[in-house]
């Protein structure tokens, strides 16, 4: 049994932790929250210089060719630090989309620049307050032109390119396709959205005859989207686990130093049991995430259910940890001044990005039905 990260991978995690402690303290996150830039450009640059954006990209496309387990440990630390950079959009989504669906030419064209961080990508599926499904997608792709509106698009204001889920047929799962569009091209309008978590940019992106190229075969868009989201869900689950850990550490630190009724609040069972439950949920999430990491790294057939399990457990753990961390801080937790809000916002952002829990539970059970024939 060898169900753990290697010593080298653990060392990489420690490196990432030290690096982010230095380059991404809470005050850099708050700078974005307080209405600075739409992401931390200096942090993005140094993360790219560290090679993190290139981690899982093969060397032939300008990547480091390390692998997904390495990317998982980096993700965990980025989540722990609530890093305000377009890492998930560019690395877990756009890069994976091109790796999964891109032609050789597209890989040559985009991957080296995504690897170097020179190009930022994103993945645009949603069209308003509905689940993105073959029924709800209206954006069209005809004669190399895109028309329609995507919102929210994570990092819409930060990204140079977007992979867009578009309608190319009448109905059903084969009615959708993927297209790559240059967001700086004519026919593209990007408007920032006011959102729950200002540390992660979200935009409405309108296409009016914007030039685009197909990614993958026509009619494969929905199937490819599922594959891409499954892969991204695993990587984001590690960010969520990292965030849950940060909440637990913060709640613990506060509870040990806050006195009420003559003693540390950490000595009351109401607080202790809450923190114990945070720990349990986080370990359940971590173990599900490890399994999914194994599936991603080995390309196992179990990847879809492993991804859904990791996604659900991580979302549940981070939701609980971020809520109860704030609650443990009492009135102070509700102030702008304290950092509880960073995690409370990010937990919700991460739990909704890539689709809400409900969507993933449905995916999971559909998969379980398939694997366990009646």
């Amino acid at each position: 049994m060898n169900f753990d990260f290697s010593d080298d991978q653990k060392e990489l995690r420690e490196q990432a932790k030290r690096f982010l402690k230095d380059k991404c303290p809470p005050k850099t996150v708050r700078a974005i929250l307080d209405g600075g830039d739409s992401y931390d450009r200096a942090l993005w640059k140094s993360v790219a210089e560290m090679g993190w954006t290139a981690t899982a990209i093969p060397e032939e496309y300008g990547g480091l060719g390390l692998g997904y387990l390495e990317l998982c440990v980096i993700a965990e630390e980025l989540g722990n630090a609530v890093a305000p950079i377009p890492f998930a959009s560019s690395v877990y989504l756009a890069t994976e989309a091109i790796l999964v669906a891109g032609s050789e030419e597209q890989k040559q064209k985009y991957l080296p620049k995504l690897a170097s961080g020179e190009l930022i990508g994103t993945f645009a599926t949603s069209e308003g307050a509905n689940a993105a499904t073959p029924k709800t997608i209206k954006t069209t792709f005809k004669g190399g032109k895109l028309d329609g509106k995507k919102e929210p698009v994570a990092d819409g204001a930060n990204a140079d390119i977007a992979i867009v889920l578009v309608r190319t047929g009448d109905s059903g799962e084969r009615s959708l396709s993927l297209a790559i569009v240059d967001l700086k091209a004519s026919g593209v309008t990007v408007e920032n959205l006011r959102t729950f978590d200002p540390t992660r940019n979200q935009a409405a992106v309108t296409f009016a005859g914007a030039p685009a190229e197909a990614l993958g075969a026509t009619g494969e868009g929905w199937d490819l989207t599922r594959q891409i989201l499954d892969r991204a869900a695993i990587l984001l689950a590690f960010e969520q686990v990292g965030g849950s850990d940060a909440c637990l550490a913060m709640a613990k630190d506060y509870a040990l130093n806050r006195y009420a009724f003559g003693r540390q609040i950490a000595s009351y069972q109401a607080i202790k049991h809450k923190l114990a439950d945070m720990y349990v949920n986080t370990e359940i999430a971590r173990s599900n995430a490890y399994y999914a990491a194994w599936a991603l790294a080995t390309g196992a057939a179990e990847l879809p259910e492993a991804a859904a399990g990791a996604r659900i457990a991580a979302t549940q753990a981070y939701d609980y940890a971020s809520r109860e961390n704030l609650q443990t801080h009492g009135g102070m937790g509700y102030t702008w001044e304290l950092d509880c809000q960073l995690y409370y916002r990010r937990a919700k952002n991460d739990g909704l990005a890539l689709g809400a829990q409900r969507v993933w539970k449905e995916k999971l059970v559909t998969q379980l039905e398939r694997k366990n024939a009646a």
Binding site: K272, H273, E283, S287, W294, G309
Partner: protein, 415 residues
Amino acid sequence: MDFNDTPEEAAFRTEARAWLSANAKPRAEGAAAPMRAGYSRVEADALARAREWQAKRAKAGYAKVTWPKQFGGLGGTPIQQVIYNQEEAKFDTQGGFFDIGLGMCIPTLMTYGKPEALERYVASALRGEEIWCQLFSEPSAGSDVAGLKTRAIKDGDDWVINGQKVWTSGAHYSDFGILLTRTNPDVPKHKGLTMFYIDMKDPAVTVKPIKQISGGANFNEVFFNDLRVPDSQRLGAVGDGWKVALTTLMHERLAVGGGAGGAGADWKELLELARSTELEDGLAIKNAVVREKIADTYVRSQGLKYTTYRTLTALSRGQQPGPEASIGKLVSAPKLQDVTGFGTDLQDAAGVIMDPEEAPMGAAFQQGYLASPGLRIAGGTDEILRNIIAERVLGLPGDIRVDKDVAFKDAPTGR
């Protein structure tokens, strides 16, 4: 990252499997896991089978892989013990009666007993010839076991013991027991305890089975009426009983705390039930609430399974398991109650039917629902387990103990 054995582990597994193939029958596909001890109708037969099997595997060293060879083990590693257990689970064998004795009592004896005692008791326990039980809990001392009242008073070279124990698993078929007593009520509760081992067949010991809500009767009340125990059967110093008990309880956590899989219905069973149950608006498997419960249960179960794999990985690398090993029962026991409660609801009014011939899936959901409260309590309640995680894993302070510095006889008590 993989799920494979190391070459050494694979070699041990092959050896174990070869021995098992030569000595036991493979378990039939889908057959129930071995019955846990404690169902009186069939208990005598099961005990006879268990003894026969125990003798066989003791002879080969497999009864306790990790015990030193001098005590009849293989001198193996914890991961080898796990591998053997995994392999034996594929065979139709009977266990369950010796876990407490070999898992907790004898290890305590090994730590504190005299060489003559080890000579006399260890091998016979390993072979299943003599069974041991653990006499700690009392009517007024459960989670707070150090509050026990069973009194031992020195009389010449003997101790005279009076009092009552409760929740003693397997006392009714046990030959010996380790017994925690109060020897000094004038000092704070943890300081006045002393441990002994006793002969359960002594006429001064009375065992009365307790019928549980599941209908089974594996637990007992045990009464001591002027039981005389020679001082040579004392384990540890007079007044050091708490320290000795912690040794036993540490082994209990290793034995019980793993509880990753656990018995009873899980997400697969709920999926199966949902596929065959009609609700007011169609098949249950089409219902979003049912689907959500299957997903939630799956995620908890998988999380536990892979947490166990992380623990095994640490063992395989020769490391101490991480603190995540402590979450097992706190997740599995409430999960069982949750999923079986949901499953019985799904059966609507008929969910009350316990008859395995009538209820879906042999009444697995009803049985699980009746068994689960016991699991949430035995071997550390949910609440105690949360305290343990908070204090030992997270490093939060212990509770304020108002009886800490008070003589036991003056400490506040309830009815």
